[in-house]
């Protein structure tokens, strides 16, 4: 890619970017939220047209007008937000994007190909399942199969590991190495420095739409990359000071919850959570974490069991009642639950708080207060937007997330239920958020942290539970030595 530039409404998303990928190479693309990584890749994939610049393949300049053309040029892309049809089965989704799908009985011929392919790369895939029944990790595998089946030489993976479990990440890396050995090219977009260092041959760092630097991974280290990306030094190990925990805040007794598919996904879980404590729930995604969080916050009905907040029974009460009892919630599916896309930023900044006295008298909303509150969040959490009178759908994913986080934690909740709060955030924002969680803990809040990032879990949590198929395999202090076997516990083969 030669001197690529693209701007939206006068803001440069990409400026004079040169990028070269050679065959059999894995190129890392690193940058903060809104640095222009996704825009650049969308240009390569034909979703956007560059304002200026040129794309060449094997030295021949080409023009990619749309994704169909990029596929014929051997470019495949797996997006951060999956492009699958939720109500269709896996096989139907694959058949839809496949160029040689026959008109009659498309599923039969495609199924053979997919099975063959799954064997080759050691995927396990129930092709008859509907996409909405799949975990994020499984959906991503469908996307990868789609791209590879179309004969992609160059595969763009947009933050592929952010939704995967440690085990799935290993599998993904194996697949990527396999592809590399076969001469494929991969562009790997990520925030996670460890992975970049581990997987990539070369890394290009973007900052504010420009190339901030590039390096061979052999000749650089994490610190240098982080500095290139943020423009300053980043603290990696946050000190968690010792605190004596206070009184009990949340108590969960024998909780049972059913999932969308009608199966029991949370099985007889019990635990307590105290003031000044961060309680982590580690586990491979799709093991009941989302349903557990939704049951506690009132979005999902509880089949049996009891949830108490400060001694008050809140089992199966309304989300608002639970919020009013001091429980904030950063949901896992933020775009689905967290925002009303067509409303303004300031409307979204009070989604859960709009009924509070501060923002509404009996019937009327106090918009001057609301706007003031929104500005505070935007400033504190560095949400980048040109105005708060802006529909929130115009913001990037990372910025939407910052606004949701700001909304949920600015009120000093008694209990914060946070599902993957740093997923998709850049290094700077992650650092800020983790510090803020510790700050909340110090102020007397308790935090229930769902995360797949083990580093994050051990860095922040006082106690950690490992969840597998809806059951706790262990609840241990985070410095317990027995956690050396956490991998086994997450896979369900060890219980303490």
């Amino acid at each position: 890619m030669n001197a690529i530039s693209k701007s939206f409404h006068g803001i440069h998303a990409n400026q004079d970017i040169n990028l070269v990928v050679e065959s059999g190479e894995i190129l890392g693309l690193l940058g903060e939220n809104g640095a222009g990584k996704t825009t650049l890749m969308n240009i390569l994939y034909g979703l956007y047209q560059p304002d200026s610049g040129q794309i060449k393949i094997n030295g021949n300049p080409i023009r990619i007008n749309n994704p169909v053309e990029s596929i014929t040029h051997g470019i495949g892309m797996v997006h951060q937000h999956f492009m699958l049809i939720q109500n269709h089965s896996v096989i139907e989704n694959i058949a839809l994007g496949y160029k040689d799908t026959p008109f009659f009985f498309p599923k039969i011929s495609i199924r053979k190909k997919v099975e063959q392919f799954s064997k080759q790369f050691d995927f396990h895939m129930d092709t008859e399942k509907k996409v909405w029944q799949l975990s994020a990790g499984e959906q991503q595998r469908v996307e990868i199969i789609k791209a590879l089946l179309n004969g992609a030489d160059l595969l763009i993976l947009d933050e592929p590991t952010s939704v995967l479990t440690p085990l799935e990440i290993k599998e993904l890396i194996a697949i990527m190495r396999e592809m590399k050995a076969k001469g494929h090219m991969i562009i790997f977009i990520s925030h996670k420095l460890d992975e970049i260092m581990d997987i990539c041959d070369r890394v290009v760092v973007l900052q504010k739409g420009k190339i901030a630097g590039s390096a061979d991974t052999r000749n650089t280290d994490k610190k240098a990359l982080a500095r290139m990306m943020v423009g300053r030094d980043v603290v990696f190990n946050i000190n968690r000071e010792r605190l004596t925990r206070g009184e009990r805040v949340l108590s969960i007794e024998n909780l049972n919850v059913f999932g969308e598919k009608g199966f029991q996904v949370v099985k007889n879980i019990s635990f307590d959570l105290f003031k000044n404590e961060i309680f982590g729930i580690a586990g491979v995604s799709g093991n009941g974490q989302r349903e557990l969080a939704e049951a506690i916050t009132g979005i999902r009905p509880i089949a049996s069991g009891k949830v108490t907040i400060n001694g008050k029974d809140i089992t199966n009460t309304s989300p608002r009642h639970i919020y009013d009892n001091g429980v904030s919630h950063v949901p896992e599916e933020r775009i689905r639950f967290g925002i009303a896309p067509g409303l303004f930023l300031y409307d979204n900044a009070i989604l859960k708080q709009h009924h509070l006295k501060k923002f509404s008298k009996r019937y009327f909303l106090n918009y001057s207060q609301v706007k003031h509150h929104t500005n505070t969040i935007v400033d504190r959490f560095k949400v980048s937007t040109h105005s708060i009178n802006n529909q929130i759908r115009n913001l990037s994913g990372g910025n939407i997330q910052k606004l949701i986080l700001g909304r949920e934690i600015s009120e000093q909740p008694q209990l914060l239920v946070a599902s993957h709060p740093t997923y998709g955030l850049d290094v700077g924002a992650t650092e800020f958020l983790r510090k803020h969680l510790l700050h909340l803990r110090k102020q007397g809040s308790s935090v229930l942290l769902f995360s797949e990032d083990l580093e994050e879990i051990f860095e922040l949590c006082d106690r950690v539970a490992v969840i597998f198929q809806g059951e706790f395999m262990a609840i241990l202090d985070s410095d317990d030595e027995r956690f050396s076997d956490i991998g086994l516990m997450m896979a369900g083969s060890k219980r303490i």
């Binding site: 949901p331 967290g338 009303a340 709009h354 019937y363 009327f364």
Partner: protein, 359 residues
Amino acid sequence: MITIKTTDRYNITAFRSFMTIILSLVAGLGVISIIFLMAGVNPLHAISEIFSGSFGSIYGFKETLTKAIPLILIGAGLTLAFRAKFWNIGAEGQLLMGAIFATWVGLTFGELLPPYFIVPLIFLAGFIGGGLWGIIPAILKIKYSINEVISTLMLNYICAELLTMLIVGPWKGKTRFGFPGTNNLPDSAILGLIPGSRIHYATLILAILCAIVLCVVIYKTRFGYEARVVGENPDAGKYAGINFLKTSLILMAISGGLAGLAGVGEVAGIHHYLGYPASVSSGYGFTAIIVAWLAKLNPLFTIISGIFFAGILVGGDAIQISLGLPAATVEIVNGTLLIFLIMGDYFLNHKITLQFSHT
């Protein structure tokens, strides 16, 4: 090969939005012209007849205002429902139910009470009638997940048949000499008119007030906020702890209630008795859908769009007489304009680019 590509358009200016409406209307009139040509009528003449018939004379304009009253009332109520993505297609039935309630109150208590008492009472009855008819689909939708498009539409027919049953059966008036219809409402229950016109001013004032108040409700109140959140993203509404049943009940009570008020106006202001459904309302409940849409779902703008479509109704009547076109002409005009307005909306929100490439 030519490929068509659509991308979302953000940050739409008010000017662009306005121009889109104007262009959609012009394009719609273009297609209507073709239909006029096929009917053997000079389209320019026909269109100018429509607008001169409705806006070109004092008599025409008075008629236009008369017909604008129900359109503004219903249209304003529909903007609220549509904001919450509650597709209320049942305003026609809600109007009729309002008319039924008002007629009952008027006939029963009209002789006993003075006008300043009975007039507010029949409006209240109409609001309750329309509102009750409106909350039925809300309950069906929230409690039993029944699609509101189907249920509101079907309730129109149920209400129309119920009304017919009443006027040919138990409510059939002695003064009708055997024809279906109730007796005339007593004088105390009949709305005053602006002299020399059929404009029942009480309802007109009520309509404008309702449009203004609803505008405040949608943009300034907690309830309006909740309705907008539910409309934008129901999952976010659930997460925010918004009570769907309560929100839907209130908004459909208001939406249906305003249609009920329109029914009161038609019975007590125009006809003075309850006759066949098609004579009580000439499809105002459906035309108001276009009114709400043309107003960009802003209740305040329904005052303008209501008058505009009332003008087309009146002008349509005029060309029926002067050009001898069938009554369905007006419906064709309205339907075509709605299609173009909706298309215009699409082009307003999406950018279309054509790409030429040689492969």
